[in-house]
């Protein structure tokens, strides 16, 4: 099997940095006419970026804490409050500032070049891409805080900063703003708080729950050739020795491997993907200056999704009253679980198979044989729409194979203060909260967008008749949520969506060498 150059890949691809729960997403733009300063900044930054693995032969001095670790292996081993991680992503407009007449930009995919919210033209009232993503109504790019239609000049890139506590994060943000000051400035919001800097503070809570109260980020694809995949394969081979628990990290069972292992090319550019192709393929090789900017990079989708927790909870208690006669925490929990497909603690609704793991957050389930008709986990539930596993296709095997072509790695975190349960419903209106959604994939059109339009926003998903993702942002006439049950299915109309898109952009998460090449 192909070896992946992990030391050239940015660390975000392999880890969500659970040891660094405080994060800031800082959108910036180049200052005009400062190309040299920009190159100096990128050259300096490239050496500070968190990598997925250490460079071979890198001198590692035990106990030397003068420099913070810049690869995940070292980060896991290290401890202390000064730990941090920096990752860098660029938009098409950011790359354009470097690509003056070389023409290498055309190697990037069309959707990346076009951006998440291309501005409407005379010919198209609403651009196709916004239609695809369902960004209309309250979520229309017209109303976005950033990345939308109203901005004059967009965002050129994003710094993803992670730290162990709040003070350290603030220090890191200040230091990075200072470091880039000569070349770039923090982008400013165009929406509600006009002119404010776009710095979104993400926070990974200990219980890993997002604002609606559900544990997030449980089901993730595992890249074949990643350390976790290697560990799991080895463990499976020497099954007899498996009684001894390894402490070198999580491993996957045979069934989990069948479900989650995905070819590297789906997430890292330059490797073989599930279609046995390579992006970029042979035709892209050997261009003018010999730089391969795409190699070891990936695309990053960033969306700021605001969550209306009050509206969601109102809807849930209304539903609970309708379904169970009364709204108490138990019935509300049951109803909310139906919408999402997992309980709030992460336990899936699909019943446990005989040899399944005992964990509550288990992920070793499929739909076709275990819950084909959706009686346990409704067909339209969020997790079933977002990753139908083996449910959508001519037969379960093929369906599972097909669904692996449409997976994303999610690295999003909640932003904004958590709603205090004791806090009154009316007083909560002022604070904004939501999720800073981050998806990594090698083909935005085939992965993130495809999930969005053909699964989440698709009224005809899996033989359904109407309705979209119950916790999605799309509003359509006749929106409903169908709960498969006996004797007859229940159809509940859903009011306006609980989630609104507030901003977003398509980014490119370059490999370390590509950043160096840009700075060259």
């Amino acid at each position: 099997m192909e070896k992946i150059e992990w030391s050239d890949v940015q660390g975000l691809l392999l880890s969500g940095y659970p040891q660094l729960p405080f994060s800031a997403y800082l959108a910036w733009r180049f200052r005009p006419g400062r190309r040299d300063a920009a190159r100096r900044w990128l050259a300096d930054l490239a050496e500070r970026l968190m990598r997925a693995d250490g460079v071979q032969g890198e001198v590692r001095i035990a106990g030397a804490t003068s420099t913070a670790p810049t690869n995940i292996r070292a980060l896991k081993a290290a401890s202390g409050s000064d730990l941090r991680a920096i990752n860098l992503a660029l938009t098409a407009s950011g790359l354009r500032k470097f690509d003056l007449d070389e023409g290498w930009l055309s190697e990037f995919s069309l959707e990346f070049l076009e951006g998440m919210a291309p501005k409407p033209t005379a010919a198209t009232q609403v651009p196709r891409r916004s239609n695809l993503l369902g960004d209309a109504g309250d979520s229309s790019p017209e109303l976005w805080d950033w990345g939308g239609w109203t901005e004059d000049d967009g965002v050129d890139g994003m710094l993803l900063l992670y730290a162990a506590d709040e003070q350290a994060l603030q220090a890191l943000v200040d230091a990075e703003i200072k470091a880039m000051d000569a070349a770039s400035e923090v982008a400013t919001s165009a929406g509600r708080d006009n002119g404010g800097p776009i710095i979104l503070k993400g926070r990974l809570y200990d219980d890993r729950k997002e604002h609606f109260g559900f544990t997030d980020g449980i089901s993730q694809p595992t890249i074949e050739g990643s350390p976790m995949a290697q560990r799991s394969k080895e463990k499976l081979k020497r099954r007899s020795a498996a009684t001894k628990e390894n402490d070198d990290g999580k491993v996957l069972t045979a069934k989990e491997q069948r479900i989650s292992l995905v070819k590297p090319g789906e997430f890292v550019l330059g490797y073989v993907n599930e279609r046995r192709e390579r992006i970029p393929d042979r035709s892209a090789k050997g261009h003018a200056n010999g730089r391969d900017l795409l190699r070891n990079g990936t695309y990053m989708v960033f969306r700021q999704l605001e969550q209306d927790v009050d509206a969601f909870e109102d809807f849930v208690s209304l539903l609970a009253k309708r379904l169970h006669g009364e709204a108490d925490p138990v019935t509300e929990e049951q109803v909310a679980a139906r919408l999402v497909g997992r309980h709030k603690n992460g336990e899936p609704l699909v019943p446990r198979a005989e040899n399944s793991t005992k964990k509550t957050e288990r992920n070793d389930f499929l739909y076709s044989h275990e819950d084909g008709s959706g009686l346990a986990c409704p067909i339209g539930a969020h997790i079933r729409r977002a990753n139908p596993r083996d449910a959508i296709g001519p037969d379960p095997d093929t369906a599972l194979r097909l669904s692996k072509m449409h997976r994303i790695i999610r690295r999003g975190r909640p932003y904004g203060a958590r709603r205090d349960p004791k806090e009154g419903k009316s007083s909560g209106n002022g604070s904004r909260r939501g999720i800073a959604f981050i998806a990594l994939n090698a083909d935005i059109a085939g992965q993130f967008e495809m999930i969005q339009h053909s699964w989440l926003n698709n009224a005809h998903f899996g033989g359904l008749y109407a309705g979209t993702d119950p916790i999605g942002h799309v509003a359509q006439a006749g929106d409903e949520f169908a709960v498969q049950q006996r004797p007859a299915n229940l159809h509940i109309e859903r009011p306006r969506p609980f989630v609104t898109v507030r901003g977003g952009a398509y980014f490119f998460l370059p490999g370390i060498n590509a950043v160096r090449a840009l700075a060259d």
């Binding site: 069309l110 009232q125 035709s283 093929t398 085939g446 339009h453 053909s454 006996r486 007859a488 299915n489």
Partner: protein, 682 residues
Amino acid sequence: MSPNYTTIVTPIGPANLESCRQYLRDHAEPQLGRANEFLECRPLFRFDKIASLHFCSFVVLEAADGIGPSLVFEATFDGPKDDFLHELLQTAPEGLDNVYRQCIGYPASGLATPELIKEYFVRHDVGAGTFFSGCPGRTVSQIKGEGRIRDGIVSFLSTRCQTGAAIPARPAGILDIVLRDFIRGTAVNRWAEQQAQLPWEMTSRKWVAVAAVGGVFLLACCVGALVCSAFGFGPEALYRLITPWFEAADMEVATAFPWIVELIPMIQPSTLHVLIGLSAAWLVVRIFELGLSSWSRDVRDQFFMWRFPLQLAVVTKYALVAFLAGIVMLAIVSGADRPLPLPGAQAGALSEIWTTLGALAAVFVQLVCIGLLFLAAWHWATSLKLAVELQPLDEVRENLRRLALDVAQFAMFILASVGVLLVVSIMPEIAVSGLAGFLRSLVYIYFLLVFLGLVGIFVAYFVGLLALLTIGALEHLDKSKFDDPAGLMVRACDNARKYAREEGGINRFQNHLASVTWVKPGIVRHWLLRLVLFAINLLARFWFNQGELGGIPTILSARWVMIDGGRRLLFLDNYGGAWESYLNEFIDLAAVKGLNAIWSNTFVNAAGKSYGFPATRFLFWRGAQDARPFKAYVRQSQIETIVWYGAYPTLGVVGINANTDTRQSLFESLKPSAVDSLLQRL
């Protein structure tokens, strides 16, 4: 009655092209409805007034390579074409006149003589070389009505549940309430009681397939007979060869393995030996076949060089089974023909009766043993079948499982045959002695037919191999003639305006794809494309008429037609869902072969260069599986859909067919499980 179709291609003056396009955009393109209707027609083009119209669209073909520009109007409708055109001209006389006045050859009298306009349309109708419908036989009003019935039942049940009215616990009880109160009890819904008439192609699909297989077999027999005659073995000569062969084989094998003859004295040694020989041959062929067949169902795992011997192995396997069945028949006939082996015929001695009874008892014991063995094999086969229901096996074990399953089923077949032979052996002698000889000669004729069929199929495969090799050579030549379509990927931005309408507005649920490609030069390509289109048309009409075309469940209505004397291929397609996932289905499923077979004969022109379809291997393989060049090729070949109308723009093929099923099964006597799944579908 399948939906009817018309494709009117009219030449248009180059000067009028842009104004015509703009006029259509401004006055004909339906709008997203503001009120209850999802889609709202313009006053000059009230397509929704035409009750029989499913889909229609306008596209414009630009002038290219010596061919003038033309306007294309496509429509799918119910009933005769004449009636539809008449209605169309009555509904949108002014609008159509404004459009077609700009076309060349349009009658100068215009609106004054609608008959002439109709005749003009008919003259320019190119029809469709291949037509597919996702819901054949359903009229527009039926599709809409069945949708309303489904929605009605859903809201009827919801209201029932909400008001707290007593709900029967059994599904059948709920269905009864629905039938009583909602269908029969509501005047507007009573029509749904009538069974819908589906076209005969749909209902007798299996019989058509059986007839086709039979026809192909007979054809193969004829080919085989011809080939054998050419080598000096006419059918009669072969027949005369077959008969003595069995006797000869009998003697030789019997002397070689006398112990077998002693083991089962009931069966004639000749049959037994042939039986064993054929079984061994079958097992070898089957192992060979499993070794060749790929374990995964991924089309990407199929290779031309492996497919060929694999399919021949499958054919040989079935021929061997057919021979085996013949041998068993022969044994039965022979068993009946022999004098009764039991000595009980001589009356008198008591001891002889005992002997007879003893022999009968022995046969009985043998039968019971065989029965038990049969049950054991059956159990084995069933458990092997169930083994993968819940947990799939890895590749090697899966193939071993399939082999074991085959062996089990084969053992069942052999055991059943032996059982029949045993029963036959104790039956009294057939009264009519001539019958056995007649039956035997029938079996010999059967052998002859199977042999000739096998020869015919092998010859056909040989010819097919030559044809595919020729195509392979053509493909190799094309590589130098046409540029790699990967070069089209950089043109994605330029092509983006062609498809700006997709997935939004009135196309949120259903989309339209219009594409025009050039047919590669040369007589072979031309006729190959015609042949492929003809074959797909047959398949679409007689086999893929249940809503799926080669496993793709999203096509509402599609047509392929060669225009300009076969120089270009026009493809017009109404499909559900988004473009990206629609193409992905083709790329990743077996339908890619049909797609390759059609479009590998085409190329597109862009920026002064000719780009071929992504290179196929032997017509069917690779090609569109190169996803990114393929998508770039489709985008390059795509032309802007200027006007699109759909009569039921929010429905999908799956939904339409499910609604028909629901309505059809409402008044059938259903099993409880069927009632349950009916309610689950709602």
